[in-house]
Amino acid sequence: MVNKNKTVLFGLYDDETDLIRAIRKAKAAHIEIDEVYTPFPVHGLDPELDLKESRLHIAGFIYGAMGTLTAFLFMSWVFTRDWPIIFGGKPYWSVPAFIPITFELTVLFSAIGMVVTFYTICGMGPGANNPILHDRITDDKFCIAFDVEGGSQDHHGDDHHPVDVEKLKDFFKTTGATEVQTKVI
């Protein structure tokens, strides 16, 4: 979560087609988009916003590998070092019998790890209170938000330019936004 309050100007669109078209226009006009909110996963949106592929699957693999090692090494240690017992005349270190539990723990570690990671990096969790721009965003409106207090910058220069709010409002008007609001979050 961002500690500092920021002021955003956001516009709502009725359709994902309008949203994508507006995003393209913003990009073409070099207006930096702060955030896009949608009521459902809009396919084809990620490349438009230049979002990199999520690396969650790498985390999932690492957690899974940790599960594999934990389960296998622990069972091996128990039955060869800590308390060796012969079951049914099999060797102490009976690898095939370890496979089911090793598999289950791989899945368990991977799932729990990924879910916890997901909520952590998204700043979410039980009772988390993230600012909500508009009540209809989780219903049927598609939202583009601009940071109007220095967050946005003109790509042509290195300096922060004061954002031309009127220009942004104009942008929303011309791209078919049905509602435009300013909010401090």
């Binding site: 994902e16 539990i101 289950e104 993230n130 909500i132």
Partner: protein, 653 residues
């Protein structure tokens, strides 16, 4: 209030009009919210309260039976030296099996990109979780001293430490089922979070507080959706082998023993198939009621029911084959104990349970070969209950008939459950339905956000026989495009005109906005290259780009009726996904010799060509071929390959 449906420029183009719509009633996004979130906002009616009361009464009866068991011990179940397992393990396996459908629908069907899963995945997953809770109860109390239940987990203890036996299938069960429960819960809840956010944003007062907590602070950011989808996909990926492993391990409880009738290698696949079979039956039983009561027939359509019935038919047939295989192997093995076990099952004192199993599981699902029955709600309801009765008999047959007559004839007996065992089973129904009814009130029963994401590809106003928005018409908003857009025969100018047309939807959009003022300001921006480099966008076309698609189709339509040959050189048309050697031959005979020509062709013309050719050609969908060909022609191989990964046999999946 219902918003006027806008033509869809983004997703409608690649839709096949052959597929049955998954969402009926010409929904809008907001209407979906109203329909699916609405039920959580109403005060429960009499039927719901009566249902909960009944369930709680059953649960209370189960509670008494469980208390009885714990107070007097397992002896109150009439289990003894030979009959160590009775109704308890029968019910355990039955409930676990029912749970499997939820994971199958949400995970395996997600991997297979079956969109119909979205109508039922939420409730099926809930069913999974509740069914696993019911199942886990049985081995828990079967251990007798339930306050010692932690002994089943490996933890450092004062007994040596003496560890649990990691080589035992019973312990594998502990790990499998606890993992299965946890992963199912995480998967289900993660899917629920965006919908809880929708409930939150519509709620007021105290309800808002509760749902704010449940929604975990979800806002719907694009990046969060991306991660959410990635997470769902990977959880589905790992839940798929998990669900198969769970019932495999449950079957190991039997298969690794030395009891005739149990120690067969066919058990794992046969158990998994049986689990899916019974699970789908339970999903149907529940959803047929739920869709009626909550009036969500538009989201769980007859098409959904038919799809599930097909799964039942398939897995039911697998189960049937497994039964017959068991019989055959018993005879063919020449092993007298095995032969006796099966003879005893079919013709011994428990013949009635074997008969019930065979008729309910093998014969009744075969009715689903008939399309009318597959699509009949009444038939499906009855048969789904019959299937679950049959699957309960299957577990009873496996457990009771085998144990009642073991190796020693002197210890043979006839096992009958006591009221305590029956009571616990009844109690689990109480638990299951109490939880399920609460779920119906608290959470959106159908995954609303996911349904919205398929609206434009599976809504009945976009696809199917009643579609009012046909892709090509939508893309331009003017049906007179044939006259409007003249395409020069020269290929270069074709590309140019293509680009120009790309702006057509945007201009059209401006026309749709009513006020003159907006139109002028828009054009002003577009005219000013410093502010809006409109032309630049058009050169960066990609296949996901609606303008690209639409412009292309428009350009091609303008080409006129016949297929214009552009150049005489020949290319390998098979590079286009969906075109095989036979189609290539057909196209080349039809004058389409190279990528360029194919690129300029219009899918409708290609379709005509295919229909004329008849046979299997008729069913092919050439919608994407021109686009693919264009990429090939322009040498954008990486892009083409990437796109082809998403395509399903050349069709947009």
């Amino acid at each position: 209030m219902r918003r006027m449906l806008k033509p869809n420029k983004f997703m409608s183009a690649p839709i096949s009009n052959i597929r049955e719509p998954l969402i009926t009633g010409s929904k809008t996004y907001h209407q979906i919210t109203e329909d699916l979130i609405g039920p959580t906002e109403k005060v429960p009616g009499f039927a719901w309260i009566a249902g909960v009361m009944t369930s709680l009464a059953l649960l209370a009866f189960g509670g008494v039976a469980i208390f009885w068991t714990i107070w007097y011990g397992i002896g109150s179940w009439d289990l003894n030296r030979t009959i160590g397992w009775g109704w308890d393990i029968t019910n355990f396996v039955w409930w676990i099996g029912i749970g499997h459908a939820g994971t199958l629908i949400s995970a395996i069907l997600l991997l297979f990109r079956q969109k119909w899963r979205m109508g039922v995945n939420r409730s099926a997953e809930a069913m999974t979780i509740f069914a696993v809770m019911c199942a886990a109860l049985f081995p828990g109390i079967h251990m007798g001293r339930i306050w010692m239940a932690m002994f089943i987990f490996p933890y450092p203890n004062t007994r040596g430490p003496l560890w649990v036996n990691f080589n035992s299938p019973l312990l594998w069960d502990v790990f499998a089922i606890s993992t299965y429960f946890t992963v199912s819960l995480l998967f289900w809840y993660t899917g629920l979070v965006p919908d809880f956010a929708t409930v939150r944003d519509r709620a007021k007062g105290f309800r808002k507080k509760i749902y704010s907590f449940l929604a975990f602070g979800w806002t719907g950011k694009a990046k969060h959706w991306q991660r959410w989808e990635s997470l769902s996909l990977i959880l589905a990926g790992i839940a798929t082998p998990l669900v198969l492993s769970v019932h495999t391990i449950v079957s190991f409880d039997f298969a690794t023993s030395v009891i005739p009738g149990w120690h067969t290698t066919i058990f794992p696949p046969y158990f998994v198939a049986g689990a899916i079979f019974s699970g789908f039956a339970m999903v149907l039983t529940l959803m047929l009621i739920v869709r009626k009561v909550l009036k969500i027939e538009d989201y769980i359509t007859i098409g959904h029911i038919e799809s599930m019935n097909k799964v039942i038919l398939c897995t039911g047939s697998i189960v049937g084959v497994a039964y017959l295989t068991e019989l055959f192997i018993a005879w063919y093995s020449g092993y007298v104990y095995e032969q006796f076990a099966f003879y005893n099952r079919a013709l011994g004192p428990y013949w009635w349970s074997y008969f019930g199993m065979m008729s309910c599981n093998v014969i009744t699902p075969q009715f689903f070969w008939i399309k009318k029955i597959r699509r009949s709600v009444a038939w499906t309801f009855v048969l789904s209950i019959v299937v679950n009765i049959g699957m309960w008999f299957e577990r009873f047959v496996i457990i009771a008939t085998t144990l009642a007559r073991d190796y020693l004839p002197s210890s043979w007996s006839y096992y009958v459950p006591t009221w305590v065992e029956v009571g616990i089973y009844v109690g689990t129904f109480g638990l299951f339905f109490t939880l399920f009814l609460l779920f119906l009130r608290v959470a959106p029963v159908v995954a609303a956000a996911e349904i919205k994401s398929i609206l434009k590809t599976a809504g009945d106003q976009y696809t199917g026989p009643n579609a009012t928005h046909h892709a090509h018409h939508d893309d331009h908003g003017h049906d007179d495009k044939h006259e409007d857009l003249k395409l020069p025969a020269d290929s270069n100018s074709f590309m140019d005109s293509n680009r120009n047309v790309a702006t057509a939807p945007i201009v059209e959009k401006t026309k749709r906005t009513n006020t003159q003022e907006e139109t002028t300001s828009y054009q002003k921006i577009e005219d000013d290259p410093e502010v809006y480099k409109g032309k630049e966008i058009d050169t960066n076309l990609d296949p996901d780009d609606p303008n690209y698609k639409s412009s292309f189709v428009a350009g091609a339509v303008g080409a006129g009726a016949g297929l214009t040959s552009l150049g005489t050189h020949e290319d390998d048309l098979k590079k286009v996904e969906g075109i095989g050697p036979a189609v290539e031959k057909l196209l080349k005979e039809g004058g389409v010799k190279n990528w360029k020509t194919l690129a300029a062709a219009n899918p409708e013309q290609l379709k005509e060509l295919l229909v004329e050719a008849g046979g299997t050609f008729k069913t092919m969908d050439p919608t994407t071929w021109p686009l693919q060909a264009q990429m090939a022609d322009e040498g954008r191989w990486a892009e083409l390959e990437k796109w082809q990964d998403d395509l399903d046999g050349g069709k947009i999946s």
